[in-house]
Symmetry: C2
């Protein structure tokens, strides 16, 4: 029997992933539902990190935080196992990635705190719904991401500079793209820069620091949004003993509709 | 020489307060600038409390959190001394108020964390600007506040039910009042209930649990907003050894315009 994963509800998809039967990127699945990033930290780093996200909400929009040691959530998903319901995880020891796995149940610690963080998948869906092409989706590549000179507000051990994602937008669609994304502050909100990459320290659009380059056509403007790679970067600079994140593109599919992330 | 305090800038007003020359409520001062609530907790309670505010942003909208032990801020006010710049403070030991003072410099602890929390003064100013009467201002009393049966999302040691404030609004102005306040999520945002107090456990509008009763005229609807008394209540139930808050109405006057608290 084959299963059309694209037709599955969020909870059915999580069950499939939990059983190890789906280990692929989640882009395009459970259409309309919010997908989320993951950072798992030990409790002794959780206060500084939570403060860091509070001070830098644009690149670090927290959706929900687990209780200490808990593998469940209450607001964004029922029937969820945080140690198994992401298709792929990355383990980092002392700031270096040591492996990718499909379950972290065997390395789970009683002092773990899980941060569920908003992701641009949600606003890309809304841009498409507004009739605005999203080039990285059209070209089936990862969105291009760049380091910038925009300083973050430090918090305890955490500091650094903002990472941004870039999408080329047709000149006449830029205001609409701002409006659509500004209405979704829980998934990075409005652009941070429009059309002048040098002013935020980006000199070579053709060579992103993360992800893949995309085509910029004549008449299009590069538009930059705060990016969820920012908190991961800030964490790795601290070189914690042990941190777990999702693998890029391998997200948690939540029970919450993107539409409910708009101003409320 | 007399000083017209109503004409002072936020920083000039803070200087006056810091010198002990102004110890009155701050309502109506530094028009247009955000005023803020205060909760000072020891560091060992700060993580649970920050998580509690993250899970309950409607009644607990955090504007800024100090570094541990610091008496300064970075985002909402420059040239600020958190131990002296509120006109009046309340000290609580083991959950009971022990005294009101105009400075907490002599009881300051190296492990103190200050939470600066949004306050309805900001949205009341916007309601007035939209041509909507605010009855507690007209009648020169404290806004009426009520306990409800709306459960909060627990976080560590903190839990409880939401406290709400009530303003009677003319039937035809209710949609506008929702729009104006919904645009300011950092100061409680949209109403939580309109016109049906019994559904949230309020049975006697004439006898508020905090503050003063106000007149409700024919054709007016009682409208309820999440209230900043909520976090103070939740803290006192935990009976911490030592907590400091501002005295009601004796707020921090910040350098940030109310207008910038709107969706951004």
């Amino acid at each position: 029997m084959t299963v059309d994963v694209a037709s599955l509800s969020p909870v059915a998809l999580r069950h499939l992933i939990r059983q190890g039967k789906f280990t692929q990127p989640t882009s395009g699945l459970a259409a309309g539902y919010t997908q989320a990033n993951l950072v798992i930290l030990p409790r002794d780093l959780a206060y500084d990190f939570l403060l860091f996200t509070q001070r830098n909400p644009r690149p670090c929009p927290v959706l929900e935080i687990s209780d200490v040691g808990s593998r469940t959530l209450h607001q964004f998903a029922q029937d969820v196992d945080l140690a198994n319901d992401f298709p792929k995880y990355r383990l980092y020891r002392h700031g270096k990635m040591t492996k990718e796995v499909t379950s972290v149940a065997d390395v789970w610690q009683a002092d773990f705190v899980s941060f569920i963080i908003g992701c641009s998948f949600s606003f890309e869906a809304e841009l498409l719904a507004a009739g605005i092409e999203v080039r990285n989706i059209t070209e089936k590549v990862n969105v291009p991401m760049y380091n910038t000179n925009i300083p973050l507000v430090p918090a305890g051990k955490f500091q650094g500079h903002m990472v941004v994602s870039m999408r080329p937008i047709a000149q006449q669609d830029v205001p609409k793209a701002v409006q659509v994304t500004a209405a979704m502050p829980k998934v990075h909100g409005a652009p941070i820069q429009i059309g002048q990459p040098a002013t935020i320290g980006i000199t070579d659009l053709a060579h992103p620091d993360y992800g893949d380059a995309v085509t910029i056509k004549p008449g299009e403007v590069p538009v930059f949004w705060p990016c969820g790679v920012t908190p991961q970067n800030a964490i790795m600079q601290v070189k914690p003993d042990f941190v777990i994140t999702h693998a890029p593109g391998h997200m948690l599919v939540t029970d919450v509709l993107n539409a409910t992330l708009k101003y409320s």
